[in-house]
Symmetry: C2
């Protein structure tokens, strides 16, 4: 008795005829007919009432069908578990306080583990911590080591914030600026920039912050208006715009160092990534 035969039994019952079932199963009618005969021979019981031109499950056939479906249900459970395992094996869930480190990780991991799919999620540090603990995330990226037992932390990159000002702007001529200098100036800011948004709101309390979700739209607005915005050394998106000047920001909290955190008993693959980062 083979699982395939039970699957066939199931389909035949649902479709009503061997022909239709054969089509659904992508095999020929004679093949399916023979396969059913084999199953019957194996079980030692006829499962169908046969007229010359039609088959119909008999009482014993329905008993067989019930059992077949129970077996197939168990098999599906197993398949589901292993499909999920395979999916997990391909994906690397990253909980991060800012987008830049996940870009950095992506280029690194994709080279080392081809086929891996990174799933970054931007959240505040508390949620990064809990995601890591609950193993909802494989890697957590924060601004300082999480200092949890059984969690390793390694610095991976720094990111510096710059002012991107239109050439005519009052701040565009400066060599450096501070948040105090910029406060009051209206700013266009991308959504989903993590903790940087908190920095902006805290350090530019009187500025009007215009949040734009869509990156393409953001780029268009930046190119066509004289609003100030931010850029970092992790991107060069707005920097190759001739109409804009990139001005370093002097304040300490315009400079971030990111740490990647991982459970010490994580999967082999995660540990390899941590080891790789540690070497650099």
């Amino acid at each position: 008795m083979e699982l395939e035969q039970l699957r066939q039994l199931d389909v035949i019952e649902r479709d009503g005829t061997i022909s239709a079932a054969a089509e659904e199963l992508h095999i020929t009618q004679p093949s399916l007919s023979r396969s059913v005969r084999r199953l019957e021979a194996d079980l030692g019981q006829e499962l169908f009432d046969r007229t010359r031109n039609h088959v119909m499950l008999n009482d014993i056939g329905y008993i067989a069908l019930d059992h077949a479906r129970a077996i197939l249900a168990e098999e599906k459970k197993m398949r589901d578990v292993f499909d999920e395992l395979s999916r997990r094996q391909r994906t690397l869930r990253i909980a991060t306080v800012a987008p830049a480190p996940s870009w950095h990780l992506t280029s690194l991991v994709v080279n080392r583990f081809p086929g891996t799919i990174l799933v970054p999620e931007i959240m505040d540090e508390d949620h990064v911590r809990s995601s890591l603990i609950s193993r909802t995330a494989d890697l957590g990226i924060t601004l300082c080591p999480l200092q949890l037992p059984e969690v390793d932390s390694i610095p991976i990159m720094t990111e510096d914030l710059f002012l991107s000002a239109p050439v005519g702007n009052r701040l565009a001529k400066r060599d450096t600026v501070t948040f105090s200098d910029m406060d009051g100036e209206p700013f266009l800011v991308l959504d989903q920039i993590g903790f940087w948004m908190d920095v902006c709101r805290r350090r530019l309390p009187t500025s009007q912050i215009i949040v734009q979700k869509d990156q393409t739209v953001f780029a268009q607005i930046v190119a066509s208006t004289s609003l100030c915005c931010f850029t970092t050394d992790a991107v060069d998106r707005a920097s190759n715009d001739a109409n804009r000047i990139r001005v370093p920001i002097a304040d300490a909290d315009a400079h971030a160092t990111f740490f990647v955190n991982a459970q010490r008993d994580a999967t082999e693959r995660v540990r390899q990534i941590i080891a790789l980062l540690g070497k650099k």
Copy 2:
């Protein structure tokens, strides 16, 4: 994924090595090794930690094993049900008030349905009735039609009781006898003769009834003692003994007519037997 592979996984875990499992499964070691690799490939996961010279289930392997055993348990349920069905198909359970009709049926059924195993059980009429109703028996044999709805009754044979008396006995010279004539005489009687035992006890209230369970022992005692016993036209066991005379018994209850009873919605085979008996 095939059931056989799951069975192999189960055996490998129990045996500890692929070699031992292969032997138990009656295949070669390389074959089993490859089969395991196929399963792993199919599931997309390694199930074993491999050293050069040994394999051991890993965490995922144990998950697979759990599921495999769940599937195999369901498969076993199905197999058990169908094994039982096949067994039922080969056996014919007969509830009867006397042994002779079951002998009669046996010769009849074995010719018509080769391979059939008859399982006669001797009991009183009430139990025959309830066995038939509860379908613990396929055929019930009684002294008169059961007259139940949905139950067919057909006469199959008669049986006449004879006195078997040693030549020297006072009754041996008679052409016929009655129970009254015989009462007081000690009797040797076989066990498991059904309702005949009731007849003896009722009609020979003052006789000593010696019950012998073993048929061979019974025959020996009959041959070597001068005890009276009974015989019927359904057997010729004691009749070819030159030292004994077979005397007809005149009373009405020394003559039995047996009826075979069967549920009208019984299996095809049972209905065929009923039809066969009806024709005669």
